[in-house]
Symmetry: C2
Subunit: 427 residues, 2 copies
């Protein structure tokens, strides 16, 4: 934990060395180490809470916002939940070694494509100490060494948590150096970490746009950016309106601050006369501000205002924004194709839903919309590693290369071709 004299490069090089051994560890060894980590977290709860108290005091003195302090804060039940999360990861299937495909080639060689760990994954995150353990558990289970770079705001908490995880992992049989932690210093440290091309195989940032931009400017190591979600709910001509209303309200209001929450409602022109007033009343009752296009305003404005719904004209930019707040853009379209075009123009490729009873509309929307997750008659809120049966996730990708959608154990792996012959040479 005393990493003051250990350089970023040293920690990454040690992680690389550890990753070679870790890639060959049996599932049972990895799972036993994860259970040891959970056990030691519970045993070390006083030490963890004392370190966290130091961070909390410094955070208060530095005038951190309440929301940030709440993210930073640990208590016994939160430590308990973190330990349970580690046990959950231990219970998941090991992604390493799975044969993805293969067979005997025309030239007589036997070829298998097999899933293997990436090697060293660096996780860069803000002041949430739980990420220290969540990320370490996912990386170790998938056979990767991890280098953690948290926020200096949580430095004491992170150091104790990572120290416990590292000691328990190594005590449980995993290689020395498999959990590395940086001091949580400034932008120079971030730049150094994200340019360790000889040792770091992937950087995963978990944080806002500022962190993303900082990394984009300096990283030469591959980075998977978890991106924003401008998600749509489209209510088709044939939609069941009860389903539509339930899904709309779930997608918009269940947890408006997350990336899979809906930001725009699109309604088919022939459905709008029946659905719009229902939707506006429900949104209004839930305290959601509506930014409506001209057709919506013309259809809805008098009744909506009488019903006390907050409604105002939408600008073009409202259809491109991730509000992450109780605000929704509403528009009327003339066809499922118009809805698809709208979503592809404005969406961020995260999660998109159509509510319809018509098989042709459902098929057109699923084929035509370019996004990680395309739903028929279900809420966009389901985009989540846990909901998808992946057990856990380290983030959610809207990029198209390597990982799209939830980033779970499988997405923390690459593959290699294993090829076997009997003296085969190429003609």
């Amino acid at each position: 934990m005393a990493s003051a004299t250990v350089s970023v490069a040293d920690i990454c090089t040690a992680a690389k060395r550890a990753s070679r051994a870790l890639a060959m560890c049996d599932t049972a060894v990895k799972d036993a180490a994860l259970h040891a980590i959970a056990r030691e977290l519970r045993a070390g709860v006083q030490e963890i809470l004392e370190a966290n108290e130091q961070d909390m005091r410094a955070g208060s003195e530095a005038g951190l916002q309440d929301a940030l302090l709440d993210r930073l804060r640990l208590d016994e039940s939160r430590v308990q939940a973190i330990a349970e999360g580690v046990e959950k990861v231990a219970s998941l299937p090991d992604p390493v070694g799975e044969v993805l495909d293969g067979g005997r080639l025309a030239n007589g060689l036997d070829l298998r494509r097999v899933r293997v760990p990436l090697g060293v994954v660096a996780v860069v995150y803000e002041a949430r100490p739980n990420v220290t353990i969540d990320a370490a558990a996912l990386c170790l289970k998938s056979g990767n060494a991890i280098v953690l770079r948290g926020s200096s705001t949580a430095a004491h908490s992170n150091a104790v948590l990572a120290g416990i995880a590292s000691a328990a992992a190594v005590g449980g049989g995993l290689p020395e150096g498999c959990v590395g932690i940086l001091a949580g210093g400034g932008r120079e440290e971030l730049a150094e970490l994200s340019t360790q091309r000889d040792s770091v195989d992937l950087v995963i940032p978990r944080g806002g746009e500022g962190l993303k931009e900082a990394l984009q400017a300096v990283a030469t190591v591959p980075v998977i950016y978890a991106a924003s979600g401008n998600c749509h709910v489209y209510v088709d001509e044939s939609a069941d309106l009860d389903d539509a209303l339930a899904i709309l309200m779930n997608a918009k209001t269940q947890r408006p601050g997350v990336c899979n929450a809906a930001e725009t409602l699109l309604i088919h022109a022939r459905t709008a006369p029946r659905f719009l007033s229902l939707a506006l009343q429900a949104l209004g009752a839930a305290g959601v501000l509506v930014r409506a296009d001209e057709r919506t305003l013309a259809l809805a404005a008098p009744g909506a205002q009488a019903a006390g719904v907050q409604i105002e004209p939408a600008g073009e930019e409202d259809f491109a924004r991730e509000f992450l707040a109780p605000i929704i853009a509403v528009g009327i379209v003339d066809s499922v194709q118009d809805a698809i075009d709208h979503v592809n123009r404005h969406g961020s490729g995260h999660s998109e839903a159509i509510i319809t009873r018509d098989t042709a509309s459902a098929r057109a929307f699923q084929l035509g919309v370019d996004a990680a997750c395309v739903y028929v008659n279900a809420s966009t809120r389901f985009t989540d590693g846990g909901e998808f049966g992946m057990g856990a996730e380290i983030g959610n990708s809207t990029q198209k290369l390597h990982a799209r959608g939830p980033i779970g154990l499988r997405e923390l792996c690459t593959f290699k071709y294993l090829v076997e012959g009997d003296g085969h040479v190429r003609a």
Copy 2:
């Protein structure tokens, strides 16, 4: 073809628009379009050869090297081979729409992960006009629109080839704009292309280190770099020496200038007394210069020099280099683990081979070596999309994210999650 007044952004935007329709094209339509391209290439051979003659004349006048002129040159049989290549791609299975996995989730949703095209792929290449058609065929078959950016040296050839491909594709039912071609201008054009984040989903460079560095400096769009291959042949203690010799010579001498050729021979210390003189004689007879480590020199030098083998001391840097020439580094190691460590330290993660009869050595090498392709008793030269049964490839990746090894039709795709419910909302 008259693209003087059309901007890079315009061509990429048109390709993006085309990619939406292309993603929904049936296999039969794509295959018919590919057959139309092959037919029109044959019909247009005179026009193609006249354009190529212009490029050849300009190239000669500009003093291009013979090797470059040979790459640039087209003749009837080369055009014929290009057309046959397109027909071959048409005959391959369509990667789009394949269900990769899925099932009913615990929450009752039906989820499928389905392969879909990336969207718009930009291919940047040097003066090989055949790439214009090879790359277009692979992209169209995988449902991607393509933006071609060849060398100005081949501008006339490329313009005619791309014009024929584009007209035949659109005539065959594919969307307008699905084959775009840039003028082949300078570095500004490259910078503009590789920053079209709203329209270009992937850039694939096919060229040398200069092109790679130029792209690394400017690209904000994802790039898959086809990388160099510092490939090893390791002859284990238990190797069959006839197999070892045949594989060594195939890997080193069959085509020394390609990325899957061997650059280093490692020999187990207990095998060296029996194998080294055989290997050196064969390498010497094939005109290969040997750069040997100290142990190899001590063991082999007197006999080898008597036999006329060119042998000289290796520096550490010789074990890190891709010679791409009749030169090989030779070293002696004490165990399969030492061989693995050497390969992981010096290799580029491309193709690595062990020659052994021992199952434990084979397993250790395949598990421990971190490379795209790990061979047992076979030549590294097999790393190739065609040999791997992928039908064709657009390059070979040594990166770990998204595509590793040959980049075929499948690797030109991403996937999306299709999720179906019946009014499902998240609790």
